[in-house]
Amino acid sequence: MNTYFIKRFIAMIITLWLIITGTFFLMHSVPGSPFNEERTTNEAIQKNLEAYYHLDEPLIVQYGNYLSSLLHLDLGPSIKKSSQTVNEMLGRGFPVSFELGFYTLILAVISGITLGIIAALRHNGIIDYLSMSIAVLGISIPNFVMATFLIEQLAVNIPIFPVATWSSPKHMVLPILALATGPMAIIARLTRSSMLEVLTQDYIRTAKAKGLSPVKIVFKHALRNALLPVVTVLGSLAASILTGTFVIEKIFAIPGMGKYFVDSINNRDFPVIMGTTIFYSAILILMLFLVDLAYGVLDPRIKLHKKEAK
């Protein structure tokens, strides 16, 4: 376990370093300086600006500086909003985005698992077909389409919920719903198919033969094993929720990290793009790492296989 943990940890650091390096050089390969726009300042001012942001130094020195400031968890200043640093922006945006993402994940996991269990228990019944149709629909409808549909129906046509912003629990309902449908559908399908597989296993038959109640069989014996595949996709689901927050925050005018990210893309504010990308990637890689560890803890069989499989 320990060597595996260390190996994964090192791999995680390497991946993160690759992302940082890749992002840095990609961003600096964009031709032109961020300061030549239409209302160009005169050359002296431009020189000063470049000196202020260290853009006049050789690329490799800039890279070194950036890495060392990253080690101090400093993501640098924004170029377009000169009074702000990337850290301040993330500090303001992250709690909001985290709230949105966290509730979304909770809703998706709970409703997805419930839907999947019901479908598996009523295999090939009407409820099964119905919930699986809902699931395929949920996977097919992009989150921004879902969001616009919800706004149109539940905020404009029948004004139950507010159209936008993020100030009260009532404001949170539509964005969370819009963001949770896709992940929920994926979890539901996965739970269903792994439940169906587990339910045919011998130990379930044994449990039935012992005369255990169906509730106990499902929750105590079947579900524990059926949920393992669900745990593995949590990492990639977190990724899709994360990218989903970009559009959802844009549509609902939520002042989260995603909004800063999309704004910075449109403004070509490279330090902000770089900082948010690295921050996002770090979160995601950490999630994948934790999921992997959790998986090893939850399923003792994995440890044995890992050595041969990889």
Binding site: A11, I19, L26, V30, I141, P142, T148, E152, S281
Partner: protein
């Protein structure tokens, strides 16, 4: 000897010897198969035909392809012509899907968006297929250290958040159709490579591959003729599932302003334009592009599921 003769006689007490004539059997007839033999592909095809949902998806996709090809031709309006006298008109016999705020015909633009979506989806899937099959094929076939090294690289790419990478690349090389496809292909092939590699790893140990090797067949030929045809099932399924994710990515990018640029029409661009007028009640501007995005993704997803069931009956549940 004595005993045996006695036994022979005992077998047929009272039955005339001429009854014991071997029946004349037609060898060819005995070998004939009554039920027509089905190849793997035919068998899968029949299974797919029975799947109503998958067939509905396929039917929709055929209609969509026709719509994409002929829609802009049969429509009396062009994609980019702006007519300021007919802004935001609701659907009518003149404008079948209505018009947008610049007086452009939504029907023509939707059909044009279908072209872009299908093009992006198919080309992205094709590129993923080529890179993924070559990469995964080599890794799986060579095995050992080479496989280990190649898969380490794939693992790192697999850990990267797909859309984030695509967004970064789009920022650097600028928006447009070619860059979308390029950005999607940079990490898109990874899933395909993993599937092909896993399949090849398994199949290469079968006897017929060994036989082929013993005959001195070259590696390239073994991969092409022996291994790939047997991995085609999972590859096709993976491709049908790549297409909707590419279509989604294009719509997503266009929606946040990084994809197809005006004046070109894409479903994502149209949805984004339509969203800003949602409070004005011009529902058709949002409705048609989003309807087409969702239906297309739905059709590809159910077709992919159906293909999975049809091509791999063992996995069927």
């Amino acid at each position: 000897m004595e005993l045996r003769k006695q036994e022979e006689q005992n077998i047929s007490p009272g039955i005339p010897d001429e009854w014991f004539v071997p029946s004349v059997q037609n060898q060819a007839e005995a070998e004939a198969v009554v039920r027509p033999s089905l190849s793997y592909w035919k068998d899968s095809w029949y299974r797919l035909l029975k799947n109503k949902l998958a067939m509905a998806g396929m039917a929709f996709l055929i209609i969509l392809a026709l719509f994409a090809i002929f829609g802009p031709i049969i429509s009396p309006h062009s994609v980019e012509t702006q007519k300021l006298t007919s802004q935001n008109l609701p659907p009518s016999s003149e404008y079948w899907f209505g018009t947008d705020d610049l007086g452009r015909d939504v029907f023509t633009r939707t059909a044009y968006g279908a072209r872009i979506s299908l093009f992006v989806g198919l080309v992205a899937a094709l590129i993923d297929f080529i890179i993924g099959v070559v990469y995964g094929g080599i890794a799986g076939y060579k095995g050992g250290k080479i496989d280990n090294l190649m898969m380490r690289f794939v693992e790192i790419l697999y850990g990267l958040p797909y859309l984030l990478v695509v967004i970064l690349v789009m920022v650097v090389i600028g928006p447009g159709l070619t860059t979308i496809i390029l950005a999607l292909s940079i990490t898109g092939w990874v899933g395909m490579a993993r599937i092909v590699r896993g399949q090849v790893l398994q199949i290469k140990n079968y006897e017929f591959v060994l036989a082929s090797k013993t005959f001195g067949t070259k590696t390239g030929r073994i991969i092409r003729k022996n291994l790939l045809p047997n991995t085609m099932g999972p590859i096709i399924v993976q491709m049908t599932l790549t297409i909707p994710s590419a279509i989604f990515a294009e719509a997503f990018l266009s929606f946040i302003g990084l994809g197809i640029q005006a004046p070109h029409a894409s479903w994502g661009v149209m949805a984004n334009d339509g969203l800003s007028t949602i409070l004005s009640g011009y529902w058709w501007r949002l409705f048609f592009p989003t309807l087409f995005i969702s239906l297309t993704m739905f059709a590809f997803n159910v077709l992919g599921d159906g293909l999975q069931d049809a091509l791999d009956p063992k996995l069927r549940r």
